[in-house]
């Protein structure tokens, strides 16, 4: 409820009986109507078309050469960037005890499920990825110790991704246990459903010890997820982009890529929260405050995105070795210049121009719009950096970049189908997940209600928030 308290000063705070919160949020998925089914239908069809595109690609090209798989890599990188970074918006406010994160924490964590799809998509990419021999790589293969570690980079990349996905799902699961237990105990679940939720709830009874364990698991899994996410994105950037470019030694490139991921992850949560609020009638839970707080993080990340890019660019610009000049042409001023300009607009200038205004930040549409723009920017970004890296002719020979392609790598029909298919697959998986897992964490909302109230400071009503140790 929006609490005006008889003043023009609007304070948004959820004030509902706990039982009502449970009923509304656990029964929310059954209220999803025709639009939901339509979304499932469209994404399902596009996903199937993506599978068709994949089969066509395999028949046309096989896995002997990695170049034809550039667009699938870009799509993989894009979905990984936004989906696997999104849970950070649940982890950070929780660790920093920011109450504003409560209504959007589950929205963010649910995106970790997309990791399952990514693991499947990664298989053909790893099959096509060339051996590390003869290339610059973080793996020690053929450089210092022959064949060590065995299977690098393929096996180790796969293990890193499996670790990330398992960690993400564990994070989602543990944070949802109290809700699973509440659904188990409610009359809305019966038979198989009750059994399923009973198993998912892992015997949760809400004892003090269980709550302590839950909070500890948030800290440990959250920190571990952050570390795994950063390193997975870093290694994907190295192995699928930088190491394919002869002579490229750009230490900020992976860090910039991680920032790009965090930026699009926040953007994704804002867009999802907007859709849930607007079309899912969740205005009583997802307030403008959530958009306001997350948009400040989005603004900071957009500034960091530009700063990291500039920090890398200026060193290359000053270095001006042959390889550096060619890399400047490859990524920024050559054939990919229009995409780079678009990138700067979508990832930096538009977020800056919009989000610098408090009025925009303090709305639901403003941050969501910028979030969408940033996600688009990330798609352009991934296509730019992965297809540029995959398009080089002298990929595995020597450590100097001598020639730069004169035109961008254009997608063929299977590429288009695969890119739209994997993005649709991610959305489809999310849509299916919210049918079974409450999109808003009911226990966090109930707990948050205890810590927030409205009191008067002199004559001004203000929100009071509890900060437990």
């Amino acid at each position: 409820m929006t609490n005006g308290h008889g003043s023009h000063h609007v304070i948004e705070i959820t004030e509902k009986p706990p039982l009502e919160v449970n009923n509304e949020l656990f029964g929310w998925s059954s209220t999803l109507g025709s639009k939901y089914r339509l979304a499932i239908g469209i994404t399902g069809i596009l996903f199937l078309l993506g599978i068709v595109g994949f089969i066509m690609k395999v028949q046309q090209n096989g896995f002997s050469d990695y170049v034809p798989w550039a667009y699938l890599t870009a799509a993989f990188g894009f979905v990984m960037l936004f989906a696997m970074s999104a849970p950070m918006l649940a982890i950070v406010p929780r660790l920093a005890r920011g109450h504003w994160g409560r209504p959007i924490s589950r929205i963010a964590e649910l995106w970790a499920l997309i990791g399952i799809l990514l693991l499947i998509v990664m298989i053909p990419l790893l099959l096509a990825l060339p051996e590390a021999d003869g290339r610059n790589t973080f793996w020690f293969v053929d450089k210092y110790r022959e064949g060590w570690p065995p299977g690098a980079p393929h096996v180790w990349l796969a293990l890193l991704m499996v670790g990330l996905v398992v960690n993400g799902i564990a994070l989602l699961w543990t944070a949802a246990i109290p809700d699973f237990a509440a659904i188990r105990d409610k009359s809305i679940s019966s038979g198989k459903s009750a059994k399923l939720y009973g198993k998912l709830a892992l015997g949760w009874r809400g004892t003090k010890r269980q709550w302590r364990s839950l909070r500890a698991s948030h800290g440990v899994l959250g920190a571990l997820y952050f570390a795994t996410m950063v390193w997975s994105q870093t290694m994907i950037n190295y192995d699928f982009s930088q190491s394919l470019i002869p002579g490229m030694r750009d230490s900020i490139f992976p860090a910039w890529y991680v920032i790009s991921g965090l930026q699009s992850g926040v953007g994704l949560v804002l867009v999802t929260a907007y859709i849930a609020r607007k079309f899912g009638n969740l205005q009583d839970y997802i307030h403008v405050n959530q958009f306001w707080s997350a948009s400040k993080i989005l603004l900071a990340l957009s500034l960091l995105w530009a700063y990291f890019w500039w920090s890398g660019f200026i060193v290359y610009w000053y270095g001006k070795t042959e390889t550096e000049k060619n890399i400047i042409d490859l990524f920024w001023f050559g054939a990919y210049k229009p995409m780079f300009i678009l990138n700067m607009l979508l990832n930096f200038f538009i977020p800056l121009i919009f989000l610098m205004w408090n009025r925009v930040r303090k709305s639901d549409w403003g941050p969501a719009f910028v979030g969408f723009i940033v996600i688009l920017g990330s798609l352009v970004n991934c296509i730019r950096i992965f297809t540029a890296a995959f398009s080089l002719p002298d990929r595995a020979i020597g450590h100097q970049l001598h020639t730069v392609p004169e035109s961008i790598m254009k997608p063929d029909l299977p590429d288009v189908l695969m890119v739209s298919g994997i993005i649709s697959g991610a959305i489809l998986l999310y849509l299916i997940a919210i049918r079974y897992i409450p999109i808003i964490s009911a226990w966090e909302i109930r707990e948050g209600m205890l810590y927030q109230t409205v009191r008067y400071l002199h004559k001004l009503p203000l929100k009071v928030i509890g900060k437990p140790d």
Binding site: F138, V230, S311, I314, V315, Y316, T453, D469
Partner: protein, 458 residues
Amino acid sequence: MQQRVQKTEREINRDLLRPNLTLQLRFFVVVGVCATIVAMAGGALAYAIIKGVGVYGVNRPVMWGFIIVNFVFWVGISHAGVMLSAILRLAQAEWRRPATRAAEVLTMFALGTAALHPVLHTGRQWRTLYWVFPYDFGRGIWPDIRSPFVWDPSAIFTYLSGTIMFVFILLVPDIAVLRDRTTGIMHKVYTVAALGWRGNSKQWQLQLLAGILLSALILPVFVSVHSIVSWDFAVAIAVEGWHATIFAPYFVIGAVHSGVASVITFLAILRWVFRWEDYIRPTHFDALARLMVIVATGWFYFLVIDFGMGFYTGEPGEIAVRYAQMGEWPGNMLFIIFITTGYFLPIPLWLLKNVRQSPMLMFWSSLFVNIGMWLERYILIIPSLERKQSLTFTWGHYAPSPIEVMLVIGSFALVTLGLVTFCKFFPIIPMYDVKEGKVLEQVIRIGKINVPAVFREE
């Protein structure tokens, strides 16, 4: 938060103004010792001016030695102020209140001291002006504006002037309190400095607005300063190990790491010297330590990426630098001390609540961080310049001369002298901020437990 202490405004004034309104022998002792060391450093500098830079340990190819290492260190320390004050102010973090001014003042003196170092380094100090100002229009001789060496002074002086303004604006209400409690010459000085502050609502509005604006405006300057310092190194392609794109954010986050650690050290000393246990509480150290865990881990990620780049390329030159930094004497010994004191010792300790809430342990662990961070700068700068590359005739060696050591010690004494003097004449804990914090304090009752709470304006 549970450690809140109820104090009246009168008690806050009494406690926090005590160092300003009373004369204490220890103040003169500390000032005397620091001034003596600074004078000795001045003597060392005079000797260097008379004899020339030959008295420094630098020689071809290692032309940057202790003084540049110390310069980067002090610029790093200066990053504490904005990090703690501006960012936490914008983020409405309540725990910032007793720490902000200490951080800002540390910034001011650390940056002022840092700015001296390039001048000390040149040997012919008056010629340093040639870097910065155009001096012969007629013959078209200009400083090379494409060089980060020219950007450096601009960035540092912008940051320094911005910081001084920031400190001053936020000091005005407290100066007015001092004005009303002093007599004689000090009263006159505080009257001028208080700018007619009466504490009416319009003045508070302006002061608040100025604080927020300066916080937002100074942030890009804060980032630019250490970025530009990093580009002093990174834009050069001739020195192995320096031409790294990650240097700018790596330097900035390293600076925040060492800067915030130095604020912790400073706060622990203030708490101990002035017995401000009610103001600088374990909960503040706890919050700072949590922040440090995040900052330090981010810094460590950049460190791994930067050092890993040598192994990534596998180029002999890069590998030779990494070997000099980590594999051969004295680099290996320094590296072990650096990485242990800078990360592996403090971070696991700060994961423990007991350590985070112990001012004594926080003092020592934060001090260790800065020992490590000083060595980090040494490891980044010197081994690269020693050029242990394939051409053995270009190899060099660096050992600091006593003059350089004296100048480094003198810089620490100079910063300490500045801080002690400031603490004598101005409240180092912002009184109005602490009082405001008290007004905003609330309690929410959940069941039988009182949970600390605050008013939050959205």
